[in-house]
């Protein structure tokens, strides 16, 4: 006689636990995805974000909440499903997640900036990217906006007259430095600084930022190799520029890094054909 209600109770508890575990699973997968993304393990991170999205989807179907929609939105953001992420953040807002509306708004702005850029309205898109990199509290949006903004602003700066160009480069450098202050662990921000210092022929600073970028990690093999080439370029620049004593000092530091990276000579990174 008690068997049925008992079974129901067990089932209810089990289903309840399953719901809890969907959100928990979603959060765990998202965290694992972030860890893999930080190590630039793109394939692994995408698989984790997919799983996080699926688990969050199961959760919002059974037990919608601000938290579940937020995790779903974050996973969609990492998968570059902009429209879906925007909708999830709005849902999260409706379920009490206060930042949801602002995040959805920032995503909509990012979409707008991309469209402006595609239609050739560089100046307007640059303004929106600038706004996002100053205001957005979503790391992946800040990083994407930073990439887009600096590339576009650098391109524009290089077209200016010498004096104007110097001013624009200074301002851009400050922006890139602020980004590093916001997220010290992002190698790409140091890569950007290294590139800007390179334009200013400040080889020592460019070298130091490139070393930091290399140590922190870079988003693709091509950018990683370009960063190594920048290191070699700075080495050659400093060889011409420094007084003998300063050069000796720099060389001993350079040789330390070479040993750490297993470079056999100062101008040949390990990936380069011999």
């Amino acid at each position: 006689m008690f068997k049925k209600p008992a079974l129901l109770l067990v089932l209810t508890v089990f289903v309840g636990m399953a719901c809890v575990s969907h959100l928990k699973e979603a959060k765990t997968s998202y965290a694992q995805g972030q860890r893999s993304a930080r190590d630039y393990q793109t394939q692994a991170s995408q698989a984790y974000f997919q799983k996080a999205r699926q688990e969050a989807f199961q959760e919002v179907r059974g037990k919608p909440s601000g938290q579940a929609y937020m995790v779903k939105g974050l996973a969609e953001l990492e998968l570059e499903l902009w429209q879906e992420a925007e909708e999830s953040f709005l849902e999260a807002f409706h379920y009490g997640f206060e930042k949801g509306e602002e995040w959805a708004h920032h995503l909509a702005l990012f979409g707008l900036a991309s469209s402006l850029e595609e239609s050739g309205l560089q100046e307007s898109s640059r303004q929106v990217y600038r706004y996002l990199l100053d205001r957005s509290r979503i790391p992946s949006i800040t990083l994407l906006a930073a990439q887009k903004y600096t590339e576009s602003a650098l391109e524009e700066a290089l077209e200016r007259e010498e004096k104007e160009k110097d001013k624009a480069l200074d301002s851009l450098l400050k922006t890139a430095q602020r980004l590093s202050e916001k997220d010290m662990s992002c190698g790409y921000y140091f890569y950007l600084q290294s590139q800007i210092y390179g334009h200013q022929s400040a080889y020592r600073q460019s070298f130091e930022r490139a070393v930091m970028a290399r140590e922190l990690g870079l988003p693709s093999e091509a950018v990683f190799r370009d960063n190594d080439n920048q290191i070699v370029f700075c080495y050659r620049g400093l060889k011409d520029e420094l007084a003998p004593w300063d050069w000796e000092q720099f060389l001993s530091i350079y040789q330390e890094w070479m040993r750490r990276w297993s470079w056999t000579d100062p101008e040949t990174p390990t990936w380069l054909k011999r």
Binding site: D39, Y40, Q41, T42, Q43, A44, E151, S152, L154, E155, L158, Q195, G198, H199, S201, S220, E221, A222, V223, R225, D226, N229, Q230, F233, R236, G237, E267, W271, L272, K273
Partner: protein, 195 residues
């Protein structure tokens, strides 16, 4: 490591590519090279790296490299230094920048796909031919890759090929030796079909 076994693995991979990309023989060598290169390097983003060359010749970040960096690139490589002597002497940065966007992925970043695609020109140091055909050939390669209906199957096949080659000890070979092995089998394959 037995060369015959490796050749057999390459032959199987060529048969597979002939099924999946029947009209694009020019892509067989670059695809097999790139699959092996990133597998040997244990690249964590293997799939992305296979298709990473598709951003060239004009990724955003390359347009903003400094003039001094570009000059240094042309001056520091003897073959470029002699070919672009006049442009370097005249500081003709428009001409150098335009050539840079095509030569840098190959001679600066050593992109394995592009290095294989332009292998004949690089072997002959024929920079003029490389530059004049770069855009067309990269666009053709992009279009061919885009037209594959079963991209996951292509990746699966390339991965299986790379794993088998690694299990036979291909890691002990240099990139050049690997490329030569693939080319030898490919040439033999084409000759056999002609006969």
């Amino acid at each position: 490591m037995k060369r015959e076994e490796l050749e057999q693995v390459v032959e199987q991979a060529l048969t597979f590519l002939a099924q999946i990309l029947p009209g694009s023989i020019s892509l067989y060598f670059p695809l097999l090279s790139v699959a092996l290169t990133w597998a040997v390097k244990r690249s964590l983003a293997w799939e992305e790296e296979i298709f990473a060359w598709q951003v060239w010749p004009n990724p955003e970040w390359i347009r903003t490299k400094s003039d001094m960096f570009i000059l240094d690139f042309f001056q520091s490589k003897p073959e470029l230094n002699s070919h672009f002597r006049a442009e370097i002497d005249n500081r003709d940065l428009d001409a150098l920048r335009s050539a840079f966007s095509r030569l840098y992925p190959i001679m600066g970043l050593e992109d394995p796909f592009l290095c294989a695609l332009f292998y004949p020109e690089l072997e002959k140091s024929d920079l003029a031919a490389l530059l004049s055909t770069f855009d067309t050939r990269v666009e053709e390669a992009k279009a061919d890759i885009k037209s594959i209906p079963e991209r996951p199957r292509l990746l699966e096949g390339l991965r299986a090929f790379a794993e088998e080659a690694i299990s036979l000890g291909i890691e002990a070979m240099s990139q050049k030796e690997i490329q030569k092995l693939i080319l030898d089998v490919l040439k033999r394959d084409i000759n056999n079909k002609d006969v």
